[in-house]
Amino acid sequence: MATARLDRIGKVYENGFRAVDGLSLDLADGEFLVLVGPSGCGKSTALRMIAGLEDISEGELFVGDRQINDLAPRDRDVAMVFQNYALYPQMTVRQNVGFPLKIRGQRPHERERQVQRAASILELMEQLGKKPGQLSGGQRQRVAMGRAIVRKPSLFLMDEPLSNLDAKLRVQMRADIAGIQKDLGVTTFYVTHDQIEAMTMGHRVAVIKDGVLQQVAPPEELYARPDNVFVAAFIGSPSMNLCEGTLYRATAGGWRIALGDQSLAVPDTVIDTRPALAARVDQPLVVGFRPEHLEDAALAPDDLLDQRLSVTVAVREALGAETLVHFPIDASPVDSGDPDALDALGGRESSRCTGRFAASTRARVGDRIEVTLDTSQLHFFDRQTHLAI
């Protein structure tokens, strides 16, 4: 049990490449922090520096009150769960789980007790005599976790532990891991590229891009108040729709937003709660709106009468509980900076947008329909800096 602190941690390679740059994070005792970001953003490197598997080029790392930059991994009192499990194949499950205790000189009797305890938490009692080669992927992952929890370390480090499991198993293990962490109360760093894991498991989530921390906040806050375009686009699935738009005053009074050649009314509260926005009238901005704030106008014909887009349906995905509808709008697209994001639908002149419609929608591919957009839920970002306004 311990607090952890990263103070401007950085990793620079010989060729000058900065994998991690000025990363500062403060973890409370027992906190579950998720480091999330696209592939290659430096999150695994950061985790490995905390573990001691990579040298720290810049900055300081603290566990409790101790600065541990120069300590070997075994002296740091951390336990790690690897993406590929890294189980010792020549040893049984019992020996794998008990290995850290054996190295530290614990007596066989006490070791066995701890192994039994870990095995019962992780439902591995039947597997204790087997070797890793005889286990399924999910079982191997649990053995890896058992090996980590048996030591009662100060920190848990988890490097994308669920990414090699199939989808259904992943959902179950997410809950299991979160539950175990809550019961044991061990401070945990969890690295993943899956933003759903980040949102469901973390007390706080740190979004990382190109080695730089973008925002760290509880999941709900990241979702509702992203600090910049990258976080806005990265968190949430399907992604937030982003395009260029211009805010202006209507001749009859009131505010409107122009998205391409379409214009929608904007409630006064939007401007009132964002003082900085008033100074940006008539300037092109980055505008974001989440798919769930779009709806098929045919399903709610009396709502949001002046907040409508006229669009042609390009793709339709029926998910059962809802229907995702993709359509281009005539506003300039915005590159969120996510290397894994797909190219814009319809080329460089229009933006690809996604709406989460109720399953009862009758919209079909090729239909020209009206879509309501709840403009009170708009997000605004500066076009140059991509920072939230």
Partner: protein
């Protein structure tokens, strides 16, 4: 591995007969060796040649030991080759691990050098080796041969072990480091047991290379007490005549340790040892 009968309908009807024919072709020289060794002198040159002696006799097997210091040859070969194999194996394993896990200046050059050194035809090296051993006082000695054979096998053995260690995931070292092991303990407790199949293959290679080596043993030894088996057998090819039956008997003797060695070790050649370590 899938068996030929795993294909639709079962094995091709010619598969097993062809296999039998191939086995027969491969084993024919061995069979001939045995049948020749069991013949007495009158039956060796019979016309037409006998496939199997009418009066098989073990006389050749006995006279090999009586007429020559054959026991000494066997002893010398065993001592030299076992020692050379053990030394080669130890150092090539340690070097292979170091090369696969650590980065250091000159590593690439060293690896290239290991391979390039294999390109020298060994005949070129006889005179230099002779001179070096002579000035070190190691001519006509088992120690001299051990040193020589180690110099032959270590480069390739190191390459073999290097390649084998590369197939053992580095995550295992990392997990061991986090679990509390230092470098030495990681190597001996976690990695070495997984390297056993590679070590066996390397040992077999080193053993066979040393066991069959003729040229350098011939040049670097001259007293009967120091000669190795290949040299001893070579002496059976005399200037005027060849004692075929004794030659064949001696050859059979010399293959027995190899077979024993291989039979004993083949159960360690388990390639599936690392299954389940990491997600493949």
């Amino acid at each position: 591995m899938s068996k030929p009968s795993a294909a639709i309908g079962g094995a091709h009807p010619l598969f097993y007969p062809l296999l039998l024919v191939a086995c027969a072709i491969v084993l024919l020289p061995v069979f001939w060796m045995l049948s020749t060794a069991l013949k007495d002198e009158t039956e060796l040159f019979r016309d037409p040649l006998l496939l199997w002696p009418e009066k098989p006799t073990l006389a050749a097997f006995r006279s090999v030991f009586e007429d020559y210091p054959f026991a000494a040859y066997i002893r010398n070969s065993l001592v030299v080759v076992v020692c050379a194999t053990a030394i080669s194996l130890t150092f090539s394993t340690l070097a292979g691990y170091g090369l696969s896990r650590f980065r250091f200046g000159g590593r690439g050059a060293f690896l290239a050098f290991l391979l390039l050194s294999q390109m020298f035809p060994s005949v070129m090296l006889i005179i230099p080796y002779f001179k070096i051993l002579k000035s070190a006082g190691l001519l006509d000695s088992r120690l001299g041969l051990i040193v020589t054979y180690v110099s032959f096998t270590i480069p390739f053995c190191t390459w073999m072990m290097y390649g084998y260690f590369r197939s053992i995931p580095v995550e295992l070292d990392e997990a061991a480091a986090i679990d509390g092991c230092g470098s030495v303990r990681t190597f001996f407790t976690v990695i070495l047991p997984l390297a056993l199949p590679g070590m066996v293959a390397t040992a077999v290679y080193a053993f066979i290379t040393g066991w069959n080596e003729y040229l350098f043993a011939l040049i670097l030894t001259n007293s009967e007490e120091q000669k190795t088996l290949p040299v001893g057998i070579g002496q059976l090819i005399g200037q005027y005549r060849i004692e075929w039956n004794e030659l064949m008997a001696a050859s059979i003797y010399s293959t027995i340790p190899l077979m024993v060695f291989f039979l004993f070790l083949q159960r360690y050649l388990i390639s599936s040892l690392t299954a389940g370590a990491v997600k493949s």
